[in-house]
Subunit: 449 residues, 2 copies
Amino acid sequence: MTNRQLNLNAFIYPTGHHEASWRHPGSVPERLYDVTYFQELARLAESAKLDAVFFADGPALRTEVKYRPDYGLEPITTLVAMATVTTHLGLIATASTTYYEPYNLARLFSSLDHISGGRAAWNIVTTATDAAAANFGYTEHPEVHERYARAREFVDAAIKLWDSWEDDALVLDKAAGVYADPDKIHRIDVEGDYVKVRGPFGSARSPQGRPVLVQAGSSNDGRDFASTYAEAIFTAHQRIEDAQAFYTDIKTRAAAFGRNPDHVKILPGLSPFIGATEAEAKELQREFNELTIVEYGLGQLQKMGRIDVSRLELDEKVPVELFAGAGDITDNDNSRRLVFAKIVEREQPTLRQLLHKLAGARGHNVVAGTPVQIADIIEEWFTNGAADGFNIMPPQYPQGLEAFASQVVPILQERGLFRTEYTGTTLRDHYGLPRPESQYARELAAAGV
Amino acid sequence: MTNRQLNLNAFIYPTGHHEASWRHPGSVPERLYDVTYFQELARLAESAKLDAVFFADGPALRTEVKYRPDYGLEPITTLVAMATVTTHLGLIATASTTYYEPYNLARLFSSLDHISGGRAAWNIVTTATDAAAANFGYTEHPEVHERYARAREFVDAAIKLWDSWEDDALVLDKAAGVYADPDKIHRIDVEGDYVKVRGPFGSARSPQGRPVLVQAGSSNDGRDFASTYAEAIFTAHQRIEDAQAFYTDIKTRAAAFGRNPDHVKILPGLSPFIGATEAEAKELQREFNELTIVEYGLGQLQKMGRIDVSRLELDEKVPVELFAGAGDITDNDNSRRLVFAKIVEREQPTLRQLLHKLAGARGHNVVAGTPVQIADIIEEWFTNGAADGFNIMPPQYPQGLEAFASQVVPILQERGLFRTEYTGTTLRDHYGLPRPESQYARELAAAGV
């Protein structure tokens, strides 16, 4: 037994991560705009003592909505509703630095952190789709270096806004008539190339000081960004070797930036089909794959893999040459393409097989097995330098999370790898992250004030 | 008895609308970042069958935070938390067209409307402070015509986004593999001078079709804007004559724009000090005024009234000449200045008296009286073409709302002026507003498709 504990999030996705999950008889696509559906998922995740729930998001409709539910409800508002029915569960929302204003977004996350008593986290994305760009007055999305340059300025400004009020700025002295101490509320005076924000912020410092910062960069720019800012990193790997290489790279980069590598949690995606026997689990996976819509899968492959398979028959092998250049991690829009390329190289699938392989979780690691087999994979990755925990991506909600919570979590708990009770109340507590002091408090202290 | 019913909102303001309310022994400024405080206010408002709660907001810290709590929590997120503990209460949040992006804001309000089951409303403001401008990269706030020009494009785009999915766009046909009908999900292709949004929107149409649109413009531009878009209008008047003139003007303008004047609810602010006797109510008001901080009052007078009183003694009469030009409603930043000017002209107060007069609700109508006297004022304004209802602004929360709910509301109900039970579930139901059809559904129908 080790003291090191897994961090486990439930990655919430409409009716599940399998692209055809909404078509399954047990799924409830009619409840996707009913917030009680998400509140029930939150209660379920908290009953399993998971660290957090996580929502992906983007400011545009994806074109495949004919074939699959899109994001739907906005995540921060949804997480507020989930916060009101839970007490410990972390709440992670995705939001874009390219298409938000720092002041507005910082305020939303600050409120989420206040309302939840310190459970908010922001998954920082730069959004690389032209559909999003077109909703904000651009004809195409900014190129990647520019997106990351803005993201750095944006995050720096957001952190300064959250630090703007020192923790003891609220005085509340009724007799003296002093509500807050203006000397402890600071302008931030950010004058960047992309972002200009004067401050001070409109809200007092939140319970966690700052929401936990999460990122999912896999490219070179993305890894540097993540190693600089992220406290948790979501990543997609099919094999432990790839996950180990990524894990080592990020921890090394973080150390090089002067950070404690333990304060950068690396959480690969894992989408488990769970059965009483391995055969039963694989049968469940096959059942879902039968429901896939070829046209949807081809569109995804084209969009995320950036390859043209329009002249390929479904039962033809996918030529690995289609993925030329996929290994170039200096190309920032390439990360999922690389994951796809490795699958094709290793497994030499037909187009149909590749579509099924990706149907589960868009290139994330899909495994079908017994609860013990799933727990074994988790333990293997966790104890061999490939992961600090996982972003659990159930193929179907709520059934896949129920199965994981009731069948896999107890095994991990028995093995001493996962908490049986929450030991803290904030997401920083769960992740073992320090609560940062306001940089303005530090600066004044350093100046001897 | 008449069938026409009052609309009554509770205008939520940190510890109350009286500027010194936080200093009162009964106030709880330490709970202003505790969402359960606001959830309790929501339950209280709903128990009194009020139409809605309303939050003001702005994307900047006001400079007087030393002397008084500022907005604090972000309103949309706070209203989501309040929605989860209520079932009928309308939820109105203020947000700025100058400092938000239409896509992001439309999504937040759409989610609030979905999450609350059709209770969302947006109080549209254009934000005229340099402090806000400085948080978004500007050195000063855009001039008023430009702000309103952007506001029009912004609201048009937001409406199109909310209309983007026709009401029956969700197909949910598991067998056929059709989640949504792409022919019923529309691009909006807005290409304005200030706002460019392509769409389609990322979320299905919400229960109310569109959130209720609220506005508070009193200037000429503001009145035209409100008469064009607003379904409820907040306004500040001290005397029934002024309120009647405003009421008639807005209803006339709305009719001229081809709208049904009954679908534009005019709701003046009313801040009641309630006592068992009039003397007791006035004593309560005096008690609050005793707690005011002169420096705060002077700052407000200077900022909202746009006058310089720095060379005036507290017990000197305020010269009406200071307000020269206040009657010019073509000047859009002038509306509160005009309210102040009328008070000075009519009452010839000393500076101290003027500060006390404004301390209650920043120029809104403050009345001190018995429950019957308060109900009489409400009835008089309501039945004499001055108001369709009121934005109730209790001097202190929760006490002032408790008093209004338990002592004034029953009188209004007895007089047949106010509901004893909700007759609908959405804010549109409460306000008697139609649920708008999607403009795209209409266009296609008109084209014979």
